[in-house]
Amino acid sequence: MTGRPASRAAIIAAIVRKDFKEFSRDRLYVFLSALMLVFFIGIFWVVPSTVDESIVIGIYQTGIDELGMLLQQEGDESGGLELVPLASEEDLKGVIAGDLEAYRTVGGDIVTRDEEAGDEKPKDAERVRVAIGIAFPEGFAGPAASGVGTAVTVYSDADVPPEIQGAMKSLVRELAFSIAGHPLPVELPAADTVILGQDRAGNQVAMRDRMRPLFVFFVLMMETFALASLISSEVMTRTVLAVLVTPAKLGDVLAAKTIFGTLLALSQALILLVAVGALTAQNWSVLIVAALIGALMFTAIGMMVGAAGKDFIGTIFYAMLFVLPLAIPAFAVFFPGTASAWIRVIPSYGLIQTITGVSSYSEGWADVWPHVATTLAWVVVLYMAGLFVLKRKVESL
């Protein structure tokens, strides 16, 4: 019955088909894998897409057009101030204390609502949360302009950080100096020479954009577990031995596991990247390569973990041993600034930086190639280690 011996490619393809068949038979696993993807995608779209980088200030002032203009000018220039004019000092206090609610209407007017008094919620209006506010006394401009000290009250919720409370006091003083005609004691530099790096004011990288690499990492990690459990189950039930007494060689089995693990991880990573809107006409090639390299990296880890675990619980623990350090660069993305030197030597660092750079900072091949190259080098090392460990394990059966 034996025909011509099967080619290596045919043998590898047969093993990959078998692995997919086994994987797909676990309906629970397939369902939960899909659920996890949906869940990550859901979380992504629920998390706010913008960064609220304004300080909302409640203002009560009457008859000081100059003050209003100055404040408005400050707010417009920086984009960091959102002014909420209130009708009375009592309203300002009430809104900050939480006794009143402030709403901004479509026309831009601010209305307050006393829920306890049974006020209706204003229609087509957006709630504005005010935690700090400034109440200028009537006729503030007059004494201020003449340099006579007058009292201004800054009302603040206890939760407002001290630096913002301090900054509000400074702001009031600076406004008073301005009204009084005191020029700045320094020469301000030109705005375009001050900003270093790309100015992202008003266009900050949102939390959810920072989450993308983390989600990709999680998806790859989950598939590491899938591959590791498939390998450990083959090893533990010794089905791999039954394969190795056929014309299939250990190299074929390892190649098949690599292809299976990589396809499984890569496909899910790509689905995720597409669903969270990370793939664009400009960056798709980098992201696909990054996802492929990531899938290979986690496949290599899956091989090591699958071979090392003597039982399933052992497999979990070995997996955690690898996964926890590898997750650190994904979390480090949430911290502003440069990652510590020790984080930069973690194998997943380059991968995370590539995904972050490409999907959040519009970087291209020219920017991320050093990260891609470093990750590739790590993949080679890890993959060799994975092959070695798995080969040793199978030979010891």
């Binding site: 034996t2 025909g3 078998k18 086994e22 039930t237 039954a242 190795l244 056929t246 299939a248 059966l397």
Partner: protein, 291 residues
């Protein structure tokens, strides 16, 4: 059960030695199995049976000696050898989430078998009706029959069967033995390891006793019995309320006359030949049982 005519051996083992670290598992073992011959490999747990099979199937590399399958050295990692062998492992290493048919189809694809008829193979072991059910739903006996059927799929020239009837009921065991005999009759050389003396006796053309890594006896079971068994007849006679036994040595000149008396006696209950069992011979040779 006659020994086949001598041709080039399908399995040829000379001075085979294997050690796990410092622990020698197989020590200078030599034997041959001819095409169409079933060699029963008997020995207690840890005697070296499985290690020998692992070396012969390419899972382990021998530390010393030579092992050839169909004339090819097993250490050469040669796909040609693997294409000609079938292995039934002791542990039931089947893909449980796949059906019986899918299991066989998968292995057939590894052998490169075109137009493989899994149903025909399953029919031989009585599993055709459950062909599309997942192996996880099979009973222990059905899984064992799957193991056997898997070793047949490439019509191997050399079959390694490790405890092939383990866990089977007597009827199923008999059916499996029949298929093993059919494989041998087809021309396959069969290396059979078993604890079941009856099975070894019934199936094997020759048996090898292996103990502590060494073959202590290798011959047809007939010759072994003749060599190590007693040539005697046991006669049981009623003696009042009791039963009396007499042993008649076949070499004794008076045995014929005593036999005639016994047969004529109205008190005769049973007559048995005192043939040695393989188990008794093994104990005689090694001082230990086969279990």
């Amino acid at each position: 059960m006659t020994a086949p005519a001598m041709t080039a051996p399908a399995i040829q083992v000379e001075g085979l030695t294997y050690a796990y670290g410092s622990q020698v598992a197989v020590r200078g073992v030599s034997f041959e199995v001819q095409p169409g011959e079933i060699l029963g490999f008997l020995g207690p747990n840890g005697a070296g049976k499985s290690t020998t099979i692992k070396v012969l199937t390419g899972q382990l590399t021998p530390k010393a000696g030579v092992a050839r399958i169909l004339g090819r050295d097993v250490t050469l990692d040669d796909s040609e050898i693997q294409a000609q062998i079938g292995v039934c492992f002791e542990e039931k290493n089947l893909y449980l989430s796949m059906s019986g048919k899918e299991n066989l189809d998968f292995y057939a694809s590894l052998f490169g078998i075109k137009d493989f008829d899994a149903m025909a193979v399953l029919r031989r072991v009585g599993l055709a009706e459950r062909a599309n059910d997942r192996v996880s739903s099979y009973s222990k006996g059905m899984r064992q029959r799957m193991m056997i059927s898997r070793s047949f799929i490439n019509r191997p020239k050399v079959l390694f069967l490790d405890e092939p009837t383990d866990g089977l009921d007597p009827v199923s065991s008999a059916a499996i033995r029949k298929t093993i005999r059919e494989e041998a009759d087809r021309g396959a050389a069969v290396l059979l390891t078993t604890h079941d003396m009856f099975e070894a006796d019934e199936l094997s053309d020759r048996v090898a006793f292996i103990n502590e890594g060494e073959i202590v006896a290798l011959d047809t079971s007939e010759n072994l019995k003749l060599k190590y068994g007693k040539r005697s007849i046991k006669v049981r006679l009623r003696d009042g309320d009791r039963v009396r036994e007499e042993v008649l040595e076949l070499g004794d000149p008076e045995a014929g006359a005593r036999m005639a008396v016994a047969v004529a006696s109205p008190d005769l209950l049973t007559i048995h030949t005192e043939e040695a069992t393989l188990e008794a011979i093994f104990i005689q040779l090694t001082g230990r049982g086969l279990a």
